[in-house]
């Protein structure tokens, strides 16, 4: 991390608060939201900003998440920048609208405070909620701390509103582990953010001079072409996510590698792939193991959609074993992130060993010891030992 190029204010705030500050800096014209643990603080903080006139926008307190996303879509149709936030059951409740928004090409940016999905009911972190929405047509970014949440939110509008992309973005922030954890967060100055992120200049909106029909019906003759556009937009985003992150880094002194962040991967034999808050903890484990002379590394997936498939194609050629931490499982198969990493790793001639660690389910802590053990398993697999491919980390009876 280089020194900051612009003035910032250091604050000791929670991930949720960092998000609220970021939302304020992005100057959304309409916010429609519904509270849900552990996202609630975001909405409360924004309510405070509005009440004290520190933030000027139309603020709609909705009666459900489905309606929150529907109202956001309505506002986006008028060319307004919008913001909303949700979590877990709420994300699933707005699922229908997620598809409406992405299919209609509205660049809405939303924070999802990652929380598991009932049943069993639980309010703690895993990625079952967002992974369940993998195919909703939203970009999905995962962050590892409050600072990255703030920075990524500002970046996200610039990516989503890019005319070549016009696709909504869901930024995933681990519930409690990040939402409720207070950390030192640099809050950039408004004028610097304004310079970086100009107002949303919408093309896909209602127009009284040239009236429009939006979100219309398309017959089978045309659906394929509209879907192709969505795929193309995602492909365009791969480049833009990186460019915007670099531009942000140049201006604010913090960047995150675009779609992927590597830690000691260059000469690594054994690599763990992870998303979200566990990445930070994993860095410490890599530091420890490196001190012991182990050639271990870490890959953070920052952008899950679009998926950095090209990166993994190259990684597969370089390393001996890859472990993927999934905070979710696709029952009847394996972790979704694992499936995708695996399918990208294997190119002709590549025979890398892979293990899937189903860990951090519904708030179960992923300890440094767990992560160290994961590296141990990768080494064991590489040395020809019989290792279970899909493992539940920390399972009580193992």
């Amino acid at each position: 991390m280089s020194t900051t190029a612009v003035a910032t204010k250091k604050n000791f705030i929670s991930g949720d608060e960092a998000v609220a500050y970021a939302a304020r800096l992005c100057k959304p014209e309409v916010i429609a939201a519904y509270p849900i643990t552990p996202q609630t603080i975001i909405i409360e903080k924004i309510s405070e900003f509005i009440a004290s006139d520190e933030m000027k926008c139309q603020f709609l307190l909705m009666e459900s998440e489905h309606s929150a996303m529907a109202a956001s879509m309505g506002a986006s149709m008028m060319g307004c920048r919008t913001f909303t936030a949700t979590s877990s059951q709420g994300l699933l409740y707005m699922s229908e609208m997620l598809h409406y928004v992405s299919g209609s090409r509205f660049p809405i940016v939303m924070i999802n405070a990652n929380r598991t999905v009932a049943a069993p009911w639980n309010i703690y972190c895993d990625h079952r909620d967002s992974i369940s929405e993998r195919d909703s047509g939203w970009m999905q970014l995962y962050v590892e701390n409050g600072q990255e949440a703030l920075d990524t939110l500002i970046q996200a509008y610039k990516v989503a509103e890019n005319p070549k992309i016009l696709t909504p973005i869901m930024i995933n922030l681990d519930g409690y582990v990040l939402t409720h954890t207070y950390e030192l967060v640099d809050i950039p100055e408004q004028e610097d953010v304004d310079e970086f992120l100009p107002p949303y200049n919408a093309v896909n909106k209602f127009d009284f001079d040239n009236p429009k029909s939006l979100s219309f019906t398309a017959s089978p003759e045309w659906q394929t072409e509209f879907r192709y556009q969505q795929q193309e937009a995602m492909e365009n985003a791969e480049k833009v996510i990186k460019e915007v992150d670099e531009e942000y880094g140049n201006k604010f002194g913090r960047s995150y590698g675009g779609m992927i962040d590597e830690y000691y991967v260059k000469d690594a034999d054994y690599v763990i792939v992870a998303m979200g808050s566990v990445v930070g903890t994993s860095r410490l484990v890599v530091d420890e193991l490196r001190k012991q002379g182990k050639k271990v590394g870490l890959v953070k997936i920052r952008s899950y959609r679009p998926f950095p498939k090209e990166y993994f194609k190259e990684l597969g050629k370089k390393v001996k074993a890859v472990g993927v931490i999934d905070r979710d499982i696709s029952f009847g198969y394996e972790g979704a992130v694992y499936s995708e990493v695996k399918s990208s790793l294997y190119t002709p001639g590549v025979n890398v060993k892979t293990i899937n660690f189903i860990a951090g389910i519904s708030g179960r802590d992923i300890t440094k010891q767990y992560i160290a053990d994961m590296f141990g398993q990768l080494e064991a697999a590489d040395l020809g030992k019989d290792v279970e491919e899909v493992q539940f980390t920390g399972l009580r009876w193992k």
């Binding site: 991390m1 250091k10 604050n11 000791f12 643990t37 552990p38 309010i123 703690y124 590892e144 701390n145 681990d174 409690y176 582990v177 990040l178 409720h180 954890t181 207070y182 950390e183 030192l184 808050s277 566990v278 930070g280 903890t281 860095r283 410490l284 708030g363 802590d365 992923i366 300890t367 440094k368």
Partner: protein
């Protein structure tokens, strides 16, 4: 890095102390900090935990706290129902809000035990048995990372105007009491 665990009851400001310590250490102390509550809905009166991590470099660890350098018990009555010694390092310290002498607490630990009658200090200064800033002042004395002046700045920036002076005084009183060495 030092890790501090706060034992309190829901609604009694234990987590506020954890946050104030983090705020003092980071924004006003030039170090890095992390503070988080025991996750979940906070029920008034129920035993709750707060945590503060302090380091001179950025803190990436987002796993839970398993070993502590400092344990702060805001309410003596928690002892017995909650294992306050869990993970306490041999080199660590425990601070208990109690009028009793530390040697009356029979914990099977090597860590140093301190007591401070925080409730009485709080009653004297704040007029209410709210002990979080008192215990904060005491905790600061035993953690090398934080200057008491940073705590005053943290209180100034965090608390409502009418509460600041009293709470700074509460923290200061406890800090000086601990300075005096009450093992």
């Amino acid at each position: 890095m030092i890790e501090v665990r706060w034992h309190g009851r829901g609604g009694h400001g234990g987590f506020t102390a954890a946050r104030l310590l983090g705020l003092a250490a980071s924004v006003y102390g030039g170090n890095y900090a992390q503070a988080f509550p025991s996750f979940g809905p906070e029920r008034r009166g129920a035993p709750v935990l707060g945590f503060t991590r302090i380091d001179d470099k950025p803190i990436n660890d987002h796993s839970q706290v398993y070993s502590c350098d400092v344990v702060v018990v805001l309410d003596e009555s928690l002892i017995g129902s909650v294992d306050v010694t869990k993970g306490l390092k041999d080199s660590g310290v425990m601070l208990i809000n109690s009028h009793k002498s530390p040697n009356l607490f029979n914990f099977n630990v090597k860590a140093k035990i301190y007591t401070i009658d925080a409730t009485q200090i709080a009653l004297n200064i704040l007029g209410k048995p709210i002990t979080n800033t008192v215990m904060l002042g005491a905790a600061v004395e035993v953690t090398n990372f934080v200057d008491i002046k940073s705590v005053y700045e943290a209180i100034d920036s965090f608390m409502d105007r009418d509460l600041r002076e009293k709470n700074k005084k509460a923290a200061q009183t406890a800090y000086e009491f601990m300075r005096g060495g009450n093992q």
